[in-house]
């Protein structure tokens, strides 16, 4: 069931997930389309997430946006979600929820910067932008990085600071899958009023639209975006995984089937979360009922191969 409407206010709106935004020429969503999007969201009872470009919007846009409850996603501080492109430990973040878009290589080389950002942010979500080119060697290094990060986070928690970072702490609090669910629980409207599964589908192929406002989405085989139609994921307990359907399609040609890279990354994180839980349990009085069992695989595909 749809819950969220992601509104790309401009073709150059900030990319905030795995896919880069290839567009560089501004094209602001016409005001009537914005109005249509808001009307659609209100009628369908959807929470609205506005994604901003890197320039100031005209006043009439600001007042229309402020006429509904919403979340702002943009490159600058002051919104609900601040997107950082690359690791910049000195970035001004002002206690925000932060999304860091970075490559695994840059992330691995900048652990101190990440720790610094974590200590100043409410929640940090690291999004890897090189998921399509992850080698086994890089996956191994990522696992080692997570071990280092886990020790740092454990130290922070034991000293009374509880940072929140999607790679480690999200899994501690989850008892079921908490994926992106693009196309199932959220839909994205592009500046021209066309609807997409998520911004990545828009970036990749503008003709890959799933409908248009005001009619709303008309998705064929939409059931394949649901967890219960994902044979590998529905049995998985890497609950923090984004289960990115765009990555799925890029790597396996099917939206409901993850590539090995996404599974291994998520399981390295899951296992690091498990080690973190074991390490901090004696020092904290929460998470008493949570448990993450030990497993002997990094790719759940190995366990379900029929």
């Amino acid at each position: 069931m749809l819950k969220y409407l992601v509104v790309l206010l401009d073709r150059t709106s900030a990319a905030f997930c795995h896919a880069d935004n290839p567009y560089s020429v501004r094209e602001l969503m016409p005001l009537p389309v914005l109005q249509e999007a808001l009307l659609f969201a209100m009628k369908e009872n959807l929470s609205v997430q506005f994604v901003y470009p890197d320039y100031e919007l005209p006043d009439e846009y600001v007042s229309m946006i402020d006429s509904v409850d919403h979340i702002d996603i943009r490159h600058v501080v002051g919104g609900d979600v601040c997107v950082l492109d690359g690791m910049d430990g000195d970035a001004e973040i002002d206690g925000d929820n932060v999304v860091i878009r970075t490559t695994s290589v840059e992330l691995i080389d900048n652990l101190p910067s990440l720790i610094g950002l974590m200590s100043r942010a409410t929640h940090v979500a690291v999004v890897l932008t090189d998921m399509l080119s992850m080698s086994d060697e890089r996956l191994g290094r990522y696992g080692e990085f997570l071990s280092d990060l886990e020790r740092e986070v454990a130290g922070m928690i034991q000293s009374g600071v509880v940072p929140q970072i999607n790679l480690l702490t999200d899994r501690l609090f989850l008892a079921e899958m908490n994926n992106c669910n693009a196309g199932w629980e959220s839909v994205t409207v592009a500046p021209d009023g066309r609807l997409y599964v998520c911004p990545a589908f828009y970036y990749e192929d503008e003709s890959d639209s799933i409908g248009r406002l005001p009619a709303g989405p008309d998705m064929r085989n939409g059931r394949l975006l649901r967890l219960d139609h994902a044979p590998i994921c529905r049995r998985c307990d890497a609950f923090q995984c984004r289960r990115c359907v765009w990555l799925n399609r890029k790597l396996t040609l099917e939206v409901n089937t993850p590539g090995r890279e996404q599974c291994v990354v998520s399981h390295l994180e899951r296992n690091a979360s498990r080690r973190l839980l074991e390490r901090i349990r004696p020092a904290v009085d929460f998470l008493r009922d949570n448990d993450i069992c030990e497993i002997d695989y990094l790719d759940p595909f190995e366990t379900i191969r029929l």
Binding site: R220, N221, L224, H229, P231, I232, L251, T252, L253, E254, V255, N256, T257, P258, G259, R260, E261, F301, I304, R305, L306
Partner: protein, 395 residues
């Protein structure tokens, strides 16, 4: 058992009306370097191809049009399996499905003599002349006249029966073929072909009322088989005791189709999860390439095929179907017919035909067992079937 298919040519002497190969042509012939590269990759990657044995299949078009290449490929496979000490050396077969036209040629016969211990060959003959010639016609020779191929195939049948007495034939039923099913199966039996693998096409070709006609034909065929004693020693795959039952969503959740567990390679050196995903087999969709002889298999692209189960791809009516067992599907046709580029949408074009088959199948077994009971031979028959079934499982 791994099944590896070489699409050696996309050419054929015939232009069968029901042929699913929509992109046949004379230009795409496999070269020796491509075939060799495929073999080297397959035999050199035991961690991917870890099955106990292998079936090397050759298809086209018509595979025997490329008998020189096939002979070279098979020689190389045997030599390499021996040189590498590959476990498949003790467990391999070469498999052909041919239209039978070139079967008696000197080159094909020399190949058969050389490989006969490891060879299975099925000649496609659809039944009586009128049934066969309805669909299996020669390519247009410019005269615009339709010419059936029955006589050209039939002359090779006696030789084939002598060389491969246990190999059967495969018959495909489309809408126009329905009235000829009974006479065709009986005709094949009369030619000494004891194993008739027969199925309805998966494509959406069916017209209103076809299911009733189909059921009537199968009931007539059932009567003929029972009355003439063909249930002893002859087989027609339409009749099977295991079909027509509900399936448990948890326990009976396997995929029907073996695509992804098989591998096909075409003239360009591209790999496919099965031949049906190659461009020449697809009406609408793009080919589903999962690698090539240079870079190997992209294992990510195999994951959907190997994790695909029955319930995920089936609509609710199939999951709840009371006669679901034995209802088959072709993954390639599912893909081609799907609303999006997915293998996870099952085509149900065959639904009414399957239900008709189940009704006729029930009739067949009820008639047969009643007859055997009247003759006091039911227990003996059932024990024999049980023992055959155990033997086939233990193999």
């Amino acid at each position: 058992m791994k099944h590896i298919t070489f699409i050696v040519t996309k050419d054929c002497q015939l232009a069968c009306k029901y042929c699913y190969l929509v992109g046949k042509n004379t230009g795409e012939r496999m070269s020796w370097p491509t075939a060799k590269a495929a073999i080297d990759y397959i035999l050199g990657n035991r961690e991917i191809f870890d099955d106990d044995g292998v079936v090397w299949e050759f298809i086209g078009g018509e595979p025997f049009l490329e008998i020189d290449l096939i002979d070279r490929i098979c020689d190389y496979i045997k030599r390499e399996m021996f040189r590498l000490g590959h476990p498949w050396f003790d467990n391999y077969r070469f498999l052909f499905a041919t239209n039978g036209i070139n079967y008696g040629s000197a080159k094909v016969q020399a190949f058969i003599s050389k490989n006969i211990k490891h060879l299975s060959i099925g000649i496609t003959i659809d039944g009586t002349q009128r049934k066969h010639d309805l669909n299996r016609i020669w390519k247009d020779d410019g005269t615009g006249e339709e010419r059936g191929s029955y006589a050209d195939v039939l002359r090779n049948i006696p030789l084939w029966r002598r060389q491969f007495p246990n190999d059967g034939t495969k018959v495909t039923i489309s809408s126009e073929d329905i009235p000829y099913i009974k006479e065709s199966v009986l005709h094949l039996y009369s030619l000494g072909i004891r194993d008739v693998k027969i199925n309805c096409v998966f494509e959406d070709v069916w017209r209103e009322g076809d299911d009733r006609l189909f059921e009537d034909q199968l009931v007539e065929l059932a009567d003929a088989i029972v009355d003439n004693g063909y249930y002893n020693g002859y087989d027609c795959s339409f009749f099977n005791e295991r079909i027509g039952r509900p399936l448990d969503p948890e326990v009976d959740n396997s995929n029907w189709c073996g695509s992804g567990r098989m591998l096909s390679v075409d003239a360009a050196g591209n790999f496919y999860p099965c031949t049906r995903f190659a461009a020449y087999s697809l009406r609408v969709k793009r080919p589903r390439i999962i690698g090539n002889v240079r870079d190997g298999i992209d294992l990510n692209k195999l994951r959907p095929f190997l994790s695909l189960d029955r319930t995920t791809q089936s609509p609710g009516k199939c999951i709840e179907c009371e006669v679901a067992s034995g209802c088959a599907w072709c993954q390639g046709e599912n893909y081609d017919a799907a609303l999006t580029d997915t293998i996870f949408q099952r085509s149900t074009a065959i639904c009414l035909m399957h239900k008709a088959r189940v009704r006729a199948n029930n009739y067949y077994w009820n008639r047969l067992y009643r007859k055997l009971a009247d003759e006091g031979r039911r227990e003996e028959f059932e024990n024999k079937r049980k023992s055959q079934s155990t033997q086939s499982f233990s193999c």
